[in-house]
Symmetry: C2
Amino acid sequence: MLRSFTADTAVEDAGAGRYRAAIVPGWDVHGNANGGYLLGIAARAMGRACGRPDPVTISAHYLNPGRAGAIEVDTRVVKAGKRFATVTASMRGADERPVIEVLGTFGDLAAGPASPTIMEASPPELPPHTECVPHLPGGGAPGVMANVELLLHPDDAGFRQGRPSGVPRVRGWFRLGDGAPLDTLSLLLAVDAFPPTVFNTRLPIGWVPTVELTVHVRARPAPGWARAVFTSRFLDGGFIEEDGEIWDAGGRMVAQSRQLALIPRAG
Amino acid sequence: MLRSFTADTAVEDAGAGRYRAAIVPGWDVHGNANGGYLLGIAARAMGRACGRPDPVTISAHYLNPGRAGAIEVDTRVVKAGKRFATVTASMRGADERPVIEVLGTFGDLAAGPASPTIMEASPPELPPHTECVPHLPGGGAPGVMANVELLLHPDDAGFRQGRPSGVPRVRGWFRLGDGAPLDTLSLLLAVDAFPPTVFNTRLPIGWVPTVELTVHVRARPAPGWARAVFTSRFLDGGFIEEDGEIWDAGGRMVAQSRQLALIPRAG
């Protein structure tokens, strides 16, 4: 039974800006909730708090692993303007430990303003789905990979067999496992669901914990398979940035992400 | 008399996480404080609050213009770990209006961990200083441009005479006007001091207000002239992202920035 991202990011208004929710099993990697899933819960609470549905730009700092169970999200509307509202959110687990701290500006992307358009990029070129490589979990409980469909570009999938491409890049097709169309909240999951770009380097790195993730959502995505591309350019000082783009089925760049992740010290 | 960034971002501890400071004239554009300068004040308060000097990743949302005068910055340490501390900051003017809301993770970048290094980019190639174009204020009070030295790549400076390059890119040399070496706080100014990339498009846009600015600081900069490059790829839906890199005099990429800015509606 495939899980629903919308149902599993539901929040209940507890008054005074507080929302109750739960981290649901099935969106995790080895027991720790996916960072985009956590951000989806927080963003749903924040959007509710300010009465605007769409995260236009949102940043999360990751403080402690998100374990399955009850959580609380405390929100504060810092400013509610005509077009945008800026909101903070603090997510805590049942043990009171902070899980993520979030800052976002929300709006309504249903009707974008008439504005000029310049694109200095195109959607990533991907072979047809049947020629791509399903990214399935390697062992143990499948977690988040059971509830999304992720098809890797064959040129970027060799790391799965110990043959990294040598280029810190990952491209692929993405959709929700239950077939629900993407919205501006599930885009937050999409930008954090792919394997790390560093897996395609030849460095012996198996884990890159996220310090911070920022997502700009440009538009509500058209239904259908999205294309994604993630690249890194600077691995230095123990950090790496990972830049992502999600292009919707209509060929529009709907979400742009950047995260800062830690490269664990060698040895 | 050139102003000191360090002196003009000073904060005074008022207890309980509150810091008093002032927005000082001379870091403004037409009376509104530069966004990087405002972030510098907030970051100094945040670093003080958590006892870590360096902003590793910091995001600011811009709420109201910063006018010269007294301000307060309320900070909250969300988590203080072994290596990093995560802190929020709310800056308010004397009229109680919110100016910026900030979320950041701080650490000590004096000794970076031994880690592998991969660079998929090089510092921007710039002609010698004497062949670059000083970016001086166009008229009226000089503001921030009087207190920084900014030399534009001649290929990117034509917009000043109504001849934009057609490429949404701006490159140049940067240092503080008073000759003080850059540090991890003045890097926050550097990433917001250059003219907008959109000035090099052929669109009639004279103003691109920042919604949000995120900066990753990778290392403490070496003294001397820094090189900077700013590019944009997606102008769509009334928004544009501007990606920046600051490279220090030693050729290290010390700060990576991305901002989301509004493209004012035509007409």
